[in-house]
Each structure stands twice: as structure tokens, then as C-alpha cells.
Amino acid sequence: MAAVGRAASATLADAGWAEEAFRAAPPAPAGSARVGIRVGPLTLGCETPEEGFAAPLVERYAPFRWDGPCDWTVSLRRAPDIDMTRFPDIRVWSDSARGIHWVFRWDFVARLEPARRRGEMLLTSLAGFGCADTALRMAASFAALEAGGALMHGAAVVSRRGGFLFSGVSGQGKSTVGKLSGASGRDVLTDEIALLVRDSGGWTLGGTPFWGELGLSVNRAAPLRGILLLHQGPAHAVKPVGAGEAVPALLQTVMCFGHDADTLARTMDLGLELVSGVPVRRLEFLPDAGFWDEVDRAWA
């Protein structure tokens, strides 16, 4: 039994409360700062609630900054009177009839409407600029799905054979693989979240501005040669996996904030398309760069 995405479900009552909170929240101040990014084919803008919010974003997203028009916009505003501490972890409620996804966390509540390519976020008094990063991650996950791709948890590395996604959830070794790959001279695009998009030549693997442990923000992409499902093991080995194992494993790593049938069906279809179009293998590895010998051998 696995889960698609990582967020648990909120309730209809939570969504009703959120609807009211948005109605009651003060409007955004005029002239709030806007930060735009371009990640592969996705363009996303974030309207921040105050000037001080924007500066760290501008620095963090520097390689991905985009000043042109954006397909997706998320607007943040302060709502200091709301209390979100009953949501220690992120939770989602999807209103499939209206195409609205509500996201709750201890420091914000967000409303995302993929059909309008719009998102709004109310920030509590506890919220910091990291909420803007979360808002953009959520928007990017919907934008990627709409573009026939996905944001996926994994380490993205480019070797002389092309791009490889080392796919795994927290604790499976993404950052370890990233560190070892970088130390052995390979080009690490991310150790946290990669963007996979389909084009006429196949699938492309790209870096994103969404940081992991290594703090990487690399705006480059490469043709995707293969996907490796990470497993720490007693020795380095690349092993075949069937679609029945590969698809659920990949679905666990897709960044998905929609808990409605349509979003989940599209996500499942994406997993099937990936597995039919890209070689997927299981990588068992020890914490040393020797696993690359096995990868090179498997993709020789």
C-alpha cells in the first residue's frame, strides 16, 4: 500500500472554514512585490504580501528568474487573525466539482484553481518567506501535470550517458546520491525535486529552484536516459523491475496536491507513460560512488 504524493487529506469542514477565511481576510496591499520564475516550460509568478518577502526569493531563485508574463500566478496576503496550528502537517482537500484544491499547514491556508492557473495563500502571523516557496511548488506541480510532466522527488544527475533520475522519498538517499555524484565529477541538477517533461524527442529531466539538503538551484536540463528507484542495500546492484513495481514506486514520489479523481488519474497515466517510455531499474547501493559503475554498465 502506498500513497500518491505525500499530503494527507483534510475534510469538507476544513474547506468550508477556509472559504470563509478567504472571504474575511484583508485584501493584499497595493503594489506588493512580484517574483517570477521559469522552470523548463513553466512560468510562475508569486505576488508577495510585502517588499521584505521578495528579497530572499529573488536571491534563492536567481538562476530561474523570469520577468516575462507568467502562466500561473499565486498571490500571498497576510491574515494575522487566523490560527492554523491544528494542521501540524500539510493537508489537502479537493473540491472536484469546482476544481478547487485547498491546502492547509500550520502557517498558511491556500486555494489553488488549476483551470484559472491561479492560487491564493493566506499567511498567519507565524508565516515566513518559505511559504512563498511552498506556494510556487504547489503551483508548479499543477502546471507540470497540465504540461504532461511532473515534479518528482529525486536526485537528478547528468553523466556522460545522459540524465538520470534517482527516485525516492525522504530517507531513501537522494541527497547521498547527489553528494556522491557531484564529488565524482557529475553534474547534479537537484537532490530534491526534478522536473520531468515530455517533448518530441522523449522525456527531459531538469533542475528546479526548489531546494533540498544540498541547496542546489541549477537551471539546466538533459534528455532523460533512465530512472533508478533508490534502495539502500548490501552491495551496488542495478536490477530490473516490472511495471507493477515501478509505477507505484514512481507515483509515491510525484509531487501531487490534487486529491480528486481527475488529478490522480492523470498522475497514474503519467506514471504508466514514464514506465513505458523510459527504462526504470531498481538501484541498490552503498554510500559510495561505486554505484555509478553499475549504472554505466546497465546503460552501456
Binding site: 502506498a2 500513497a3 486529491h259 490522480l264
Partner: protein, 93 residues
Amino acid sequence: MPGPELLARKPGTVNRVAGDKTLVMIPEKRTLHVLNESAGAVWAFLSEPRAEEAVVDELTRVFDCPRETAARDVKEVLAKLDSLGLLVRKPGA
């Protein structure tokens, strides 16, 4: 006298076939269930409401196995699907 109880998939579930596995999800729970070949065959047959006996007949045919074996497997699969919240039961007409 009413007919036998009918079994059907829980409405709103999302499912896809991946190799020899069937993936089933209840959107609001977001949990992905991976069904093996025999459970997948039962699931596929339950695209319309069916009586348990009809499911047994179908599995006997698909897997070309003795009816008693199919009946035992179907009972186990249905109990599992039930425990996962993937089934609904309807009174027979």
C-alpha cells in the same frame, strides 16, 4: 424472493493496469492499492455489479482452474477488497 447480493466497485475509485498489477485508488484517501493478478481479475469483472457466484464463474474461466479453487480465491479477494473499502454491496433484485 430477492436474488443474491451484488458486489461492485466503490464509486469514484480510480484504477489503472500496470503490468501484472492493478492499481486502485480512492481519491479522498489518496492511498494506492496494488492488486495482484487474481485480485485484478476480480476487480476488472466488478466493473458492473455482480453476484459472488458470477465472479467465481468468471475466475474459473479466466484462470482455467477448478471451481472450488476459484471460489476460495474469490472469497479471500472479496474480503480483502472489502477491508480496504473498495467494495460496495447491494441487495439483489
